[in-house]
């Protein structure tokens, strides 16, 4: 079972790679505002995260995701249900 701290750490790793470590990534980092990701990049991030955690992440969670923490919580939820 995936625990929140592990999800958060791996997510930060993934985002740091995606943004070429230009910005420090933490729990409260805003995906669109701070990292300047566009909607397509965020959807592509989901593809990576799905494979990393071997879970299905519906694109429809995105309207509820603003920060890294929001995404980590969604993943925790999905992993628990899955």
């Amino acid at each position: 079972m995936l625990a929140y701290p592990q999800i958060l750490a791996e997510l930060c790793d993934e985002l740091a790679a995606l943004t070429q470590r230009r910005v420090a990534v933490g729990e409260d980092t805003d995906l669109l505002g701070d990292l300047k990701l566009d909607s397509l990049q965020v959807m592509n991030l989901l593809l990576q995260v799905e494979d990393r955690f071997d879970i299905s992440i519906p694109v429809s969670i995105l309207p509820d995701v603003r920060t890294v923490k929001d995404l980590a919580l969604q993943i925790e939820n999905l992993a628990r249900e899955g």
């Binding site: 566009d38 909607s39 397509l40 990049q41 959807m43 592509n44 989901l46 593809l47 799905e50 494979d51 071997d54 879970i55 299905s56 992440i57 519906p58 694109v59 429809s60 899955g82």
Partner: protein, 404 residues
């Protein structure tokens, strides 16, 4: 935050475009002369960005059929088919589309966009899973949103990636709807349909293929990639548009499944919109008959796109896909693409400018669409404009062959 604050970014982007003297996303064709020629900014321009693949917009039979319907049935239907009734011609076109594909039934929608919107909203809901290719058209994404379906994307043209995602779904995979396109509109590449079908056969689920850009173009009878790949029977739903190879406006879905007819009653984009005008239906029916018998048109289209593709390759341009009716030239950054597009227009060639995030992987594209109606001289002129710009950029095209 004010109502219009969100337009600040758009306004800045548009100012940059307008600095060119012409907005690529607001081009006015002052006069349309033929399927492949128009007057833009007072000068004759070759239209190589219209999706008019078979050049049927000026076909005499289609125009005569539209005239007859206009005279006999009037300008519009003034209502939706469900509330205000279908005209006989709506149903005849549905029967003809079903017969063309050898499928049980068809639904006609008022636009191609609405065909995807209507099918997704009609077929799926919040408890259903839709697996879509990451590069699918906006109408497919919007349809999923309207339906409230659970959307899982898979990597573009990657059947192994689809397989992995279906495996994760477990028993839910058997009822999932898989969505791919015959030809993807941005890069012009085709779905690996045989591989996609193999994944579907293993996990179950239903397959919807959007043939918007491949109808009339691929397959012996023009039935698209499903025909060319020999998987017509495996495609549970085939969606297409009237606004490209058929030269009209509207869209459709064909299927063998009885659920298709019931989907009408669940599809808001079908229910709450006016049905296509009689003249549109009449020209589309005439065009469909021409398309089905159009081997010679397809051969001409193929000769045209193969020639343009080979010439651009020889000049050293990076193209998005092997030869097809959509030829996308990959550009550097956004402003380079913008300048390139403008210079083509100045040389009398109109193509499409495609910028991120509408494009995959953040690339900027100069997108050409080739028509069977382009004359050899027009293809030569398009090639000459591209060669001219290559020369202007200081790249020698001599002796590069097809290696690039």
């Amino acid at each position: 935050m004010g109502l219009f604050d969100k337009f600040d970014g758009l306004a800045a982007a548009r100012r940059e475009l307008q600095a060119l003297g012409i907005d690529p996303f607001g081009v006015e064709i002052e006069r349309i002369v033929s399927p492949t020629e128009g007057i833009i900014r007072g000068r004759p321009t070759i239209l190589a960005g219209t999706n008019n693949y078979l050049g049927l917009t000026f076909n005499a039979e289609c125009i005569a059929a539209a005239h007859r319907a206009l005279d006999a049935e009037g300008t519009g239907t003034t209502g939706s088919r469900m509330a205000n009734g279908s005209y006989a011609s709506h149903r005849r076109l549905e029967e003809e589309l079903a017969a063309f594909y050898g499928k049980r039934d068809a639904i006609v929608f008022s636009t191609g966009y609405q065909a995807n919107l209507g099918m997704l909203a009609g077929l799926t809901g919040p408890n259903d899973v839709v697996l879509l290719d990451a590069d699918c058209h906006a109408s497919i994404y919007d349809g999923c949103r309207l339906a409230g379906a659970e959307v899982i994307r898979f990597r573009h043209n990657n059947a192994a990636d689809l397989d992995r995602r279906m495996r994760r779904l477990g028993p839910r995979a058997a009822d999932a709807l898989i969505l791919v396109e015959g030809i993807y509109s941005m890069l012009g590449d085709r779905a690996p349909l045989a591989d996609i079908v193999a994944v579907k056969r293993e996990h179950g689920g239903y397959l919807l293929v959007d043939e918007a850009h491949s109808l009339g173009v691929l397959g012996e009878r023009g039935r698209g990639l499903v025909e060319e790949t020999g998987v017509l029977a495996d495609a549970d739903f085939i969606v297409g548009t009237f606004s490209k190879s058929l030269g009209g406006t509207g869209g459709f879905c064909v299927s063998d499944l009885p659920a298709l007819d019931l989907a009408r009653y669940a599809s808001r984009p079908y229910i709450f919109t006016a049905s296509p005008a009689p003249a549109t239906i009449a020209s589309t029916r005439a065009a469909l008959a021409i398309l089905a018998a159009g081997r010679e048109l397809r051969a001409r289209l193929r000769a045209n796109f193969e020639r343009l593709h080979a010439a651009l390759t020889a000049m050293g341009y990076t193209l998005g896909a092997p030869p097809g009716p959509v030829i996308a030239v990959v550009q550097g950054d956004r402003s380079e693409a913008l300048q390139f597009w403008n210079r083509l227009l100045q040389r009398g060639v109109y193509v499409n400018l495609m910028l991120p995030p509408a494009t995959p992987d953040g690339v900027s594209l100069i997108r050409c669409s080739v028509s069977a109606a382009h004359s050899p001289a027009q293809i030569d002129a398009v090639c000459a404009a591209f060669a001219d710009l290559r020369a202007a950029a200081g790249v020698s095209t001599a002796g590069r062959g097809a290696a690039a």
